[in-house]
């Protein structure tokens, strides 16, 4: 599996799920399309508009991306905004897990925020564990995603995976 795209934004350390989607909307709005309009609203009001204009947008985060409450709406709105991959220096555990469960690819790459700039075109090769930065003509390694988690992503998330196989295959 490969994902090609453009780095839309770079977020700082400890970006939390409340910043991704504020808790106040979670209770009022169940429609993801409508909820997605508010993605990153409090810290980056232009995010949704810019994401809609960009082809295959990717986002980059520093350490502990997605910390805070375990709300699944956080990765879901990112996916709904068309984000094709999130690359961070590290993720908070439940957010990381939720991403695979909903079929949003996430990878961890050391010092990522220092290596890339907003607007860089990159290609992520999941099998080889390599990010090609086309703009800067550089390559960065990351630890390949375990096979089972790749299968989850290919199926589109945990529910489609379980439907496809009639349960867990082990």
């Amino acid at each position: 599996m490969k994902r090609k795209g453009k780095i839309l934004r770079i977020f700082p350390k400890d970006t939390n799920t409340d910043e991704i989607i504020a808790g106040k909307y979670k209770y009022d709005e169940l429609d993801l399309e409508k909820l997605a309009v508010h993605t990153f609203e409090s810290i980056d009001p232009l995010f949704y508009a810019d994401a809609s204009k960009t082809k295959n947008p990717l986002i980059v985060g520093a350490t502990n991306f997605g910390c805070g409450s375990s709300r699944e709406q956080a990765p879901q709105v990112l996916k709904t905004c068309g984000i094709s991959c999130v690359i961070a220096e590290s993720f908070a555990r439940i957010f990381y897990r939720n991403c695979f469960n909903i079929g949003l690819p996430v990878i961890e790459c050391k010092d990522m925020t220092k290596k890339v700039a907003q607007g860089d075109e990159i290609v992520v090769d999941f099998e080889l564990g390599i990010i090609h930065n086309i703009t800067k003509k550089e390559e960065y390694d990351f630890k390949p995603i375990p096979k089972f988690m790749q299968e989850l992503l290919e199926a589109g998330g945990l529910m489609p995976y379980l439907r496809l196989h009639g349960g867990y295959r082990d």
Binding site: D14, G23, T63, N64, C67, G68, S70, R71, E72, S90, F91, A92, R93, I94, Y96, R97, N98, N101, I102, P146, K147, F148, M149, L152, G157, L158, M159, L162, R163, G167, Y168, D170
Partner: protein
Amino acid sequence: MYKTMAEKILSDKRGADVSTGDTVIVPVDFVFSHDGTMPLAIRQMESGLSTRKVYDPYKVAGVCDHASPSPSEKASNVHIFMRKFAKENKMPYFFENGDGICHQIVVEKFAAPWNIIIGGDSHTCTHGALGAFATGMGSTDIAAIMAYGKTWLRVPESFKIEVTGTLPKHVCSKDVILHTIGEITADGATYMSMEFLGDGVDAMSVESRLTMSNMAIEAGAVTGLCQTDSKVRAFLESHKRGQEYRTLAPDKNATYADEIVVEVEGMEPMIAYPHRVDNVAPVTQFEGVDVDQVCIGSCTNGRMEDIRIAAQILNGKKVAENTRLVVYPASRDILIRAMDEGLIKTLAEAGAAICPPGCGFCIGRTVALGDGEVALSTQNRNFKGRMGNDNAEIYLCSPATAAVSAITGKITDPRDGLRW
């Protein structure tokens, strides 16, 4: 291969040696969720898997605790939705308004060493104190487990927390875990299993260990394990589950990704000040701060020994005029035992509002704070807005510090008996 406790449990469940970084599919011994997370999990079963049938009704529980007793018609309707699901699945374990907090119920009735326990709540790590690999997950995961009885896990690295020495009087395991989180920070143990070891942990009661395991998630950990011993056996026996005891300990040469030694001899009572759990300082730094509401309870500190120490401190004393004290026993069992021991009477006489078992103040569904108010609480999170008001401040502390501060109406060091 030498193994940590997490690697041992997951290898046992997998039936093969597993090590850090492996992704494994494992059977789940027990799964539960509550009125905040179960409705969404049921909907996910319906929409994602086209079923409402649980894999084994004896291994799934639902608990009405977050909005309990129900404060609104919306919450009551959520409870109806959950009840219906439990009934159609013939689930014998459905816990009603007033039965208690999900984690305390699971501790009393279900958790056992070497189990894998998954809850639809981030503080499921609590059960690590009984030697269970226990962790919180989102509603998609809970739905999948309710339907199939299995889940996927990444075998975590481990962070060894070596606690040594004897705790001074009125310094509690809560102070130890606050200190630890202050040292390693809120993401210091991300993805890791925290393993609490050392003579300091051996000397603690099971209840004290539960307080530490409960807060492992506040350092980002997946679970917070303690070794099992005669105290765990006695604890299980006291809940008529002695036969579920099994010994669990890490191998001596197990590999840890990180470790820290926490020396508790001479440790001061700690406080986490607004609005982060890792904003930790000795209580003495905040002494004298006026407190509007003191809260004793939650899945962190609502157990017998917490209520006992509060009653002991408040015996014959009165809650200060400028403050309110609310007490929520963590479960019905604890409420009854505290009544039998006369603790509830002591606390009520001192001026405490005695509330029905449940989450209560911890998420502000009841006794929410007013604008500009300050709370001192024995719970595990002090995030902005956590107790129902963005314009309020929450400090976290031990039950001893909470009880003493209720008498003075100000944040007070519990060690200095002359001042309260």
